[in-house]
């Protein structure tokens, strides 16, 4: 490994560690928060959709958790990714590290929390009688694709947020909309037929569908869905990178 890569790896790892430490340093419950949030959401949504609006989806807690975990990852990592350059302005104004490392490290840090939440999901799946199967091997693949998607998107929003600070609020609003537009608490079959194709182009929705297919339906994700997820993820990384490249000359002036 060349010296340059060692330096980059070290900065990257230190930035991830910093986010982790700063987030949990002053909390008495620490990492437990990563579990508490999806548990509460799961309990509330299960209550509403089994006792108030009767949903005929079996094993609703597992079903809804398959929606909450991807949504949590997406909303939180995109938001923190968006503000990452501005939040770390005092670091990147002093040294010329590759600036892309900052949003990347934020997204990867969030992905680590997702590992905890995914473990929770798998524990619930086992508790509800879903057995591990060979299709679980797809889990890292679809997660990786989604992480690539969010990395690309964060590059774009983080760069824009440096120059136009309202990006942050745009992302927050998008997250609220997305909570309803991603099939978190309703099944894919409830979506009108003519909209299903469009839905699959949303990587978060695609991830939710894939998780349900893998865990609850004991099958591998549909290949059409995998193709769309792959295309959208790499397109996001490409165009996000392009925009970042174009805007980063102006960062110093705006930070």
């Amino acid at each position: 490994m060349s010296r340059w890569w060692k330096q980059v790896a070290n900065v990257f790892w230190q930035l991830v560690l910093k986010d982790f430490r700063v987030r949990y340093r002053n909390m008495s419950l620490g990492m437990f928060w990563s579990l508490l949030n999806p548990l509460v959401m799961m309990a509330v949504l299960t209550f509403i959709f089994t006792r108030i609006f009767r949903s005929d989806v079996p094993n609703f807690p597992v079903f809804v958790l398959c929606g909450i975990v991807p949504f949590n990852f997406f909303s939180l990592s995109l938001l923190t990714g968006t503000t990452s350059l501005v939040d770390n302005a005092n670091l990147i104004k002093r040294v010329a590290i590759p600036r892309t490392l900052v949003p990347f490290s934020t997204v990867i840090g969030n992905a680590m929390h997702t590992i905890i939440q995914m473990s929770l999901l798998l524990v619930f799946a086992l508790a509800f009688g879903y057995m591990p199967n060979v299709h679980w091997l797809w889990l890292p693949v679809i997660w990786l694709l989604t992480i690539i998607f969010v990395c690309g998107l964060s590059l774009a929003t983080a760069a824009l947020n440096v120059i136009v600070r309202d990006m942050r609020y745009l992302v927050e609003s998008t997250n609220v909309v997305l909570f309803w537009m991603v099939p978190i608490f309703y099944p894919f079959s409830a979506i009108p037929e003519d909209l299903r194709d469009v839905y699959q182009y949303n990587p978060v929705a695609a991830l939710v569908l894939a998780l349900r297919q893998i865990i609850m339906e004991d099958s591998s994700p549909a290949s059409s869905l995998l193709v769309k997820l792959t295309v959208v993820s790499f397109a996001s990384l490409f165009f996000g990178g392009l925009l970042f490249q174009r805007l980063q000359r102006r960062f110093y002036e705006h930070l």
Binding site: R3, W4, K6, Q7, V8, A9, N10, V11, W13, Q14, L15, L17, K18, R21, V22, R25, N26, N90, L91, K93, R94, V95, A96, I97, P98, I163, V164, R165, D166, Q248, R249, Y252, E253, H254
Partner: protein, 275 residues
């Protein structure tokens, strides 16, 4: 040309395929101009749209105007000038943090971070965690950080506080830690920004000794100072900036004498510099 650090070459700087720079020329500014867009507040959407749709030219502020100088290995150069003279802009160009609008900036070698008090240290992290983060930012690998950590901790003289969060530190302790990290990352170009003015006399002496050591190892220095006897000890050269223009570039004593004289005489804010 080897780029030993990601801090090595300014983005967009012309490194050229060949080795057109002399071996020992580390910094080469030729006719460098840098201006900033004036924006009241930060780039809000309304202003961005206005700027986008209005055809009138944007209001620009010239921070550096046709600045040329070179710096060779082992040289120490002081940069003097009043607030707003363009010193920080010049340093940001050397550090590769921004790119010039005109002229060329060539920097070779690993540039140490801009040393400004407290920046880059996170209040919620411990001294040691900050040390690891900052060493990484300044281009050390993990192995190098671990190897140099004891020396940095010893130099900073903050004892058991090294494992306490930084918000419990006094200003002096923060400064010592920041300085210890910076001088033990062994940059090829070290930028020292007013930092030496802080700390007690004994620690200052230690800093001077360490800077002397670095100089003997061939480290190149850029000192930023309003004025001071310290810079005369370490710098052979000085550059006097005013309003983005080079007023004088020459031997340290010569430039500093002229600068100090001008500063003492001048009472009006704008007329002071022009000879």
């Amino acid at each position: 040309m080897s780029i030993s650090s990601f801090a090595g070459v300014a983005p967009g700087a012309d490194n050229g395929p060949g080795d057109s720079m002399e071996r020992d020329l580390l910094v080469d500014f030729r006719g460098v101009t840098k201006s900033f867009v004036r924006h009241a507040g930060h780039g809000l959407l309304r202003q961005t749209l206005q700027a986008f749709f209005s055809s009138s030219g944007v209001d620009r502020f010239v921070a550096l105007n046709n600045v040329s100088f070179t710096l060779s290995r082992g040289e120490g150069m002081a940069i003097v000038g009043r607030n707003g003279a363009g010193k920080s802009t010049l340093l940001s160009l050397v550090a590769g943090l921004s790119t010039p609008d005109g002229g060329s900036v060539r920097v070779r070698g690993r540039v140490g971070a801009l040393l400004e008090l407290g920046t880059g240290l996170h209040p919620d992290l411990t001294g040691r965690e900050n040390l690891h983060l900052n060493a990484a930012l300044m281009g050390l690998t993990r192995g190098e950080t671990i190897e140099r950590e004891p020396r940095m901790v010893e130099f900073a003289e903050i004892g058991d506080f090294i494992d306490e969060p930084l918000r419990t530190y006094s200003t002096g302790m923060m400064m010592r830690l920041a300085f210890a990290i910076a001088v033990y990352t062994s940059p090829e170009i070290l930028i020292v920004d007013e930092v030496l003015a802080v700390g007690d006399a004994r620690f200052q002496q230690k800093c001077h000794k360490r800077i002397q050591e670095l100089r003997d190892e061939g480290c190149t220095f850029l000192f930023v100072s309003h004025v001071g006897g310290v810079v005369r000890d370490f710098c052979q050269r000085a550059l006097w900036l005013d309003g983005g223009n080079v007023v004088k570039d020459g031997s340290c004593d010569e430039v500093l004498d002229a600068y100090e004289a001008a500063m003492n005489v001048s009472t009006t804010p704008s007329a002071a510099s022009a000879p």
